[in-house]
Amino acid sequence: MRLSWISRIQIILALAFYAILWGLREVFPQYSQLLTLVIFYTALGQAFNIFLGLTGYVDFGYVAFMALGMYGGALAVKYVASTGLAPILALVLGPLQSVAMAVVVASAIGLIALRLRGAYFAIATVGVNEGLRHLIEGARIWGGAEGVIIPGDLRKLFGDEGFGYIATVYADTMLVVIASCAAIATWVLKNSRIGYGLAALREDEDAAKVMGVNTTKYKIIAFITSAAFGSLIGSAWALKVTTIYPPEAFNITYTIEAIIVAVIGGAGTLFGPLIGGVLYTLTKYYLGVALPGLQLLIFAPILVAVATTFPRGVVGSIRMIYSRRYILRELLR
C-alpha cells in the first residue's frame, strides 16, 4: 500500500473531525443530546458506507446487524449481572459478543444473498431482517416480544451514578471510537487492492469479473466489515436505550437513515458520512424543535428531491465541480 501525502492528510482530517466532535460534547454539555445524535448518525453512516458506498449494493436489512449488536451488548450485561462476575466484564463481553454474532450472521447472509444483484439483493436483505425479527418474536428467543430490559442490571453492576455515566459519556465515547475505526477501515480498504477491485465492481460487475477481480470475495469482505461495525454501534446504543424490543431494534427506519446519511454526504467517499451525519441530524433535530410532529412530513420531500436531482451528495458534487483540481479531487475521494 503506497500512500500519497494527500491520502495521509485525508485520514488525519477525518480523525480530527471525530476528535472535535467528542471534544465539543465535553465542552458544551448543554448540547450533549444533539451531539450524541450527531455522533450516532455519523457512526452509522460511516459503518454502512463501507458496504453501501464501496460496493453500490443496497443492503435494506442493515439494521439487523445493529439489532444483533444491541442484543449482544444487552445480553452480556444481563449475563454478568446474574452471575456476579466483575462488572467491567459486561462492557468487554458486550462488544465482543456483538461482533461475533454479526460476523457469523453476515458470513451466512453474505455467502448466499451476495449472489443476487440489484433489486433482488435489496429484497432478500429486507427478508432476512424481517425474518430474524419474526423468528425472535415467534420462537421467543431472547425474551421474544417482551424484549431485553437492562436498566436494573446496569444499576446493580455500576450503581446509580455509574449507570448514568455509562449511558452518556462512556457510550458516546465508544461511538466516537467506533466511528473513527470505521473511517480508518474505509480508508484502508479504499487504498488497497480490495478498494480498487470494488471500484471496478461498482462500475461494471461483469467486466470486473472478466478482468480477474475476485468480486465475490471483495463483496463479502466489505459486507462483513460493515456488519461488524454496525453491531458495535448497536452494542454501544444498547447502553443508551437500555430496553430492546424486536419491532424497534429491527426498525427499517435505521437502515433508511444510514442510507440517507451516506447518500446526502456522498456515498463511497470518506468524508461523505461525516457531512451527511451532521446535515441530517441538524435538519432532523431543528425541524423537530421548530415544527414538532411535522419533521418527517417536511423531510420526506427533501429526501425525494435529493435522490432525484442530487444523487452524488455534497462531497461527490464538490468533487465534480472541482474535478480539475487534483489535490481537492484526491482529498475528497
Binding site: 433482488y120 415467534g138 412530513l297 425525494v304 432525484t308
Partner: protein, 294 residues
C-alpha cells in the same frame, strides 16, 4: 388437529390472498415496466383503506363504489408521481430509486397522520354471513375475493385484447423496440405507474372488505414486506405470478398461523411470517425468476 378449522383457515387465506394478489400486481407492474421497486407500496394500500373508510363513514358509500373511486384516484396519483418523480429515476441507480420511493411512502404516511391522526379506525358494514365448516364467513370478505377475481380478469382483457394493453406489454418486453415501433413509451410508463398505484389503492379498499378495522397511517408496512415476498414468489414483474403468489402466501400465512397456534405457540402470527420470509429467501436462491417463469 382439527381438519375443519384448518380448512376454514385455508379458505380465508385464499380470500385474503386474492386481495394480496391484486395489490401486489401493482408492485409488479411498476417493477416490470420501469425496474423501480416501489418501497412505498404499503402507503398506497393505506390510502385505499382510508378512502373506503371515509367514503363509507361520511357519505355512506359502500366499498364497491369506493373500489372504483380509489382505482381512479390511484391512477391519477400514479400518473402524477410518474411525471414528477419516477421519470427521473427510471434508468438511474437502484439506490436513488429506492430512496425516492421510500420518501414518497413516508410523505403519504405523514400526510395521513397529519390530516387524520394516528388513531386506529374501522367501519362496520354487515351484509350477512354464510355458515361454512361450522364457522361463518362474512359475505363482505367473499365479495372482496369476487372483486379481486373480476379485477384480474378485466386486467387480462385490457392487456391482451386492447391496443393500449398490447403497447404496455411491448414496453415491458423491450422499451427500445417498442419505441422504434412508434409507441409513445413515456405515455405507457405513465399509464403503467398509474395502473400500478391504482391497483395498490384498490387493494387497500378490498383489504377493508376482509378486515374493516385497523385502518391507520402506518398500516402499510407489513403489506409492503408481504408484497415483496409475493412478488418474488411469482417472479418480479409477472402479473399472473403476482396473483398466484398472493393466493399461495395467503394460504401459507393463514394455514401456518392456525397450525402454529394449534401446536401451542404463543405468537403463531410471527412464526407464520418467519416462514414466509424463509420461503422468500429460498425462492430467491433456487428460482430467482419466480415460480412461473421458464
Amino acid at each position: 388437529m382439527d381438519i375443519g378449522g384448518l380448512l376454514f383457515n385455508i379458505t380465508s387465506g385464499l380470500i385474503l390472498g386474492s386481495i394480496y394478489g391484486i395489490s401486489t400486481i401493482g408492485l409488479s407492474i411498476i417493477f416490470g415496466i420501469m425496474r423501480v421497486v416501489n418501497v412505498g407500496h404499503g402507503a398506497f394500500i393505506m390510502l385505499g383503506a382510508y378512502a373506503a373508510f371515509w367514503l363509507f363513514t361520511l357519505y355512506g358509500l359502500i366499498p364497491f363504489i369506493s373500489a372504483v373511486v380509489s382505482l381512479a384516484m390511484g391512477l391519477a396519483i400514479g400518473m402524477m408521481l410518474f411525471y414528477i418523480i419516477m421519470r427521473r429515476i427510471i434508468r438511474g441507480e437502484e439506490l436513488m430509486s429506492l430512496i425516492a420511493m421510500y420518501g414518497v411512502g413516508v410523505f403519504l404516511e405523514e400526510l395521513a397522520n397529519y390530516l387524520w391522526h394516528a388513531d386506529y379506525r374501522g367501519y362496520s358494514w354487515y351484509i350477512g354471513a354464510i355458515p361454512y365448516l361450522g364457522l361463518r364467513i362474512q359475505l363482505t370478505a367473499i365479495s372482496g375475493a369476487i372483486l379481486s377475481i373480476a379485477t384480474i380478469v378485466s386486467l387480462f382483457v385490457f392487456l391482451y385484447r386492447t391496443g393500449l394493453g398490447s403497447s404496455l406489454r411491448a414496453v415491458v418486453q423491450d422499451p427500445v423496440g417498442a419505441y422504434i415501433c412508434g409507441i409513445d413509451v413515456q405515455r405507457i410508463y405513465a399509464l403503467g405507474a398509474g395502473l400500478g398505484i391504482g391497483l395498490a389503492t384498490l387493494g387497500g379498499v378490498l383489504l377493508t372488505l376482509y378486515n374493516p378495522t385497523g385502518i391507520y397511517p402506518y398500516m402499510g408496512h407489513p403489506y409492503t414486506l408481504k408484497a415483496f415476498v409475493i412478488a418474488v414468489l411469482g417472479g418480479l414483474g409477472s402479473i399472473l405470478g403476482a396473483f398466484l403468489g398472493g393466493l399461495i402466501f395467503g394460504v401459507i400465512e393463514s394455514g401456518a398461523t392456525y397450525i402454529f397456534s394449534q401446536l401451542g405457540s404463543p405468537s403463531p402470527g410471527s412464526l407464520a411470517l418467519f416462514l414466509g420470509f424463509v420461503i422468500l429467501i429460498l425462492i430467491l436462491l433456487i428460482r430467482p425468476e419466480g415460480l412461473l417463469r421458464r
